[in-house]
Amino acid sequence: MTHLEDPGRGKSLIEKYRNRFEESGPQEPVSHDEAAEIFSAYLKLERRLARIARISDAFQSELQELKGDLEHLSRTDPLTGLANRRDIRERLEAEQSRCHRNGKVFSLIMADFDYFKRINDKYGHAAGDNFLVAVAQTFQANLRKEDCCARWGGEEFLILLPETEPENAVKTAEKLRKIIAGYALELQGNAIGATLSFGISTYRENEDIDACIAKADEALYQAKNRGRNQSVLYGVSV
């Protein structure tokens, strides 16, 4: 009889021999048949144990994969696929501590659509969304691998440029600004253009992260006031 023919056999055998073992100890001799029986029960248990492990491993792998997916989702803006606020904030903190360690500064670019509402009003929200996605892709394609671009607000992007002095941050902002200004989104037979304004700030040692973001925001505000579609570095007056 195999274990498949009598699935309860392993368990009843264990009970039988456990009782015997506990009553008279291991010195009690077993017959050849009994030894064969015990061995067959042992094989069944071993097979069963391996099966339980395989099934559990499959479920475990599944969980780990789902965990990875969730981790990614929790850091990503669903529309643009860019980093979300939470993600860039963690990177900013890491960059801040790196800055304290090696003294190298990082810069921030805050970019905001000019007259975004006009696109939404004229062509609908789907067109506005398409534009956001296009800008996100353009930014990512034109930044370095170590840079991080996040969707900061509705039509606002925050870019972290590690180990970057203000001059180079301005160059990057200008590069992005010109690409977008020369870009036209094909929509319903129309070529729609849009521009963004850019505010740039550079982290100074022992500065608060929020203070550094506020500086980029302030520079962006100035870029808007000066007529939009331009880049302004915080603390530099034209």
Binding site: D6, P7, G8, R51, I52, S56, A58, F59
Partner: protein, 128 residues
């Protein structure tokens, strides 16, 4: 015997066994902290049912996640039915899982290989 019904929770499946239509349904996810304590009453109920009753039984199982303890308990439950099956009782397992999920199908096959009674792997969208 009375109907066995255990309400499902976040970490334990819903269990329903009507001794009249003889369908045992286990559905949900299974990761109780103490699987043995959770499944013990069901195992006792099944053992009693099988000793008192002789009709055909259908096991309707849809478990999307099992922890290790639950896997062991479920195999023990299948053993109880398999024992009845080899002595001539009509028992069928309908195992519902996501056919597009290779791991879920492989896990289902692992359970199927442990028994000789009919074991059908059914796509989840057909789960009643």
């Amino acid at each position: 015997m009375e109907i066995l019904h255990i309400e499902g929770t976040r970490s334990t499946p819903e269990i329903h066994f009507d001794p009249v239509d003889r369908v045992l349904r286990i559905a949900g996810e299974s990761y109780p902290e103490n699987s043995f304590a959770f499944y013990q009453p069901l195992q006792a109920w099944i053992a009693e049912f099988l000793s008192e009753n002789s009709g055909a039984v259908v096991l309707n199982i849809g478990l999307s996640y099992l922890n290790t303890g639950s896997t062991k308990c479920l195999l023990d439950i299948l053993d109880l039915f398999e024992e009845a099956f080899v002595t001539g009782r009509d028992i069928t397992v309908d195992w519902h899982c996501d056919r597009d999920n290779d791991r879920a199908v492989e896990a289902a096959e692992e359970f199927a290989e442990e028994v000789t009674m009919p074991f059908n792997i059914i796509p989840i969208n057909e789960f009643p």
